[in-house]
Amino acid sequence: MTNDEIRAFLENAIKENQVMLFMKGTPHEPACGFSARASGCLNALGVQYSALDILPDPRIREELSGISGWPTIPQLFVDGELVGGSDIVLEMFESGELAELLGAEQPGAPAVEQDQPQPQKRPIGLENRLG
């Protein structure tokens, strides 16, 4: 696939799917704490959404950021518009704005952790032991 084809595919995915989440990994197996947080918010609201794993090819992320002007992953689009990354999604989830935007019912208790994201552990490298 050329970069142009990837970009066209992404633009189409944003247009065709009312709630479109670009993430690292999948909703079942998120590969990053930030992506887990964003999909966790959507799961907690029980809304239907489409998710695309950006990890299989680095060009997916490049082209996506080119389209959105947003440098990080995850990215949530609703009705073709960028809503935000994990911080904004979580803020909007907690305030009830996300439920309102998606026409979903706000759950009684927050179903996602409100703590800082848990970055994955850093790989153990020899340089860590040399200092």
């Binding site: 930030f34 992320r61 950021s65 002007g69 947003w70 440098p71 990080t72 960028l82 809503v83 935000g84 990354g85 994990s86 911080d87 904004i88 803020e91 909007m92 800082q116 994201p117 970055p119 850093r122």
Partner: protein, 79 residues
Amino acid sequence: MPTADDLKERIERALPGAQVAVQDLTGGGDHFRAEVVSNRFTGLSRIQQHKLIYDVFGDEVGGPIHALSIKTSTPGDGR
């Protein structure tokens, strides 16, 4: 490797008068949390507010700055 103080200084330089707190989440110099209170955010959407912060660091976000979590508000905002 950038430090929390580096990030704080650069945000303060870009948004004069802003109150900025930056935390290194892992101590590894690559996952940061920035909380920024600035008048510059008035009237901007959240997306636009966060982009102002991302723009300070350009390509470094996703590169040396592996992750940057952002919380923005204006001086008038209560919480």
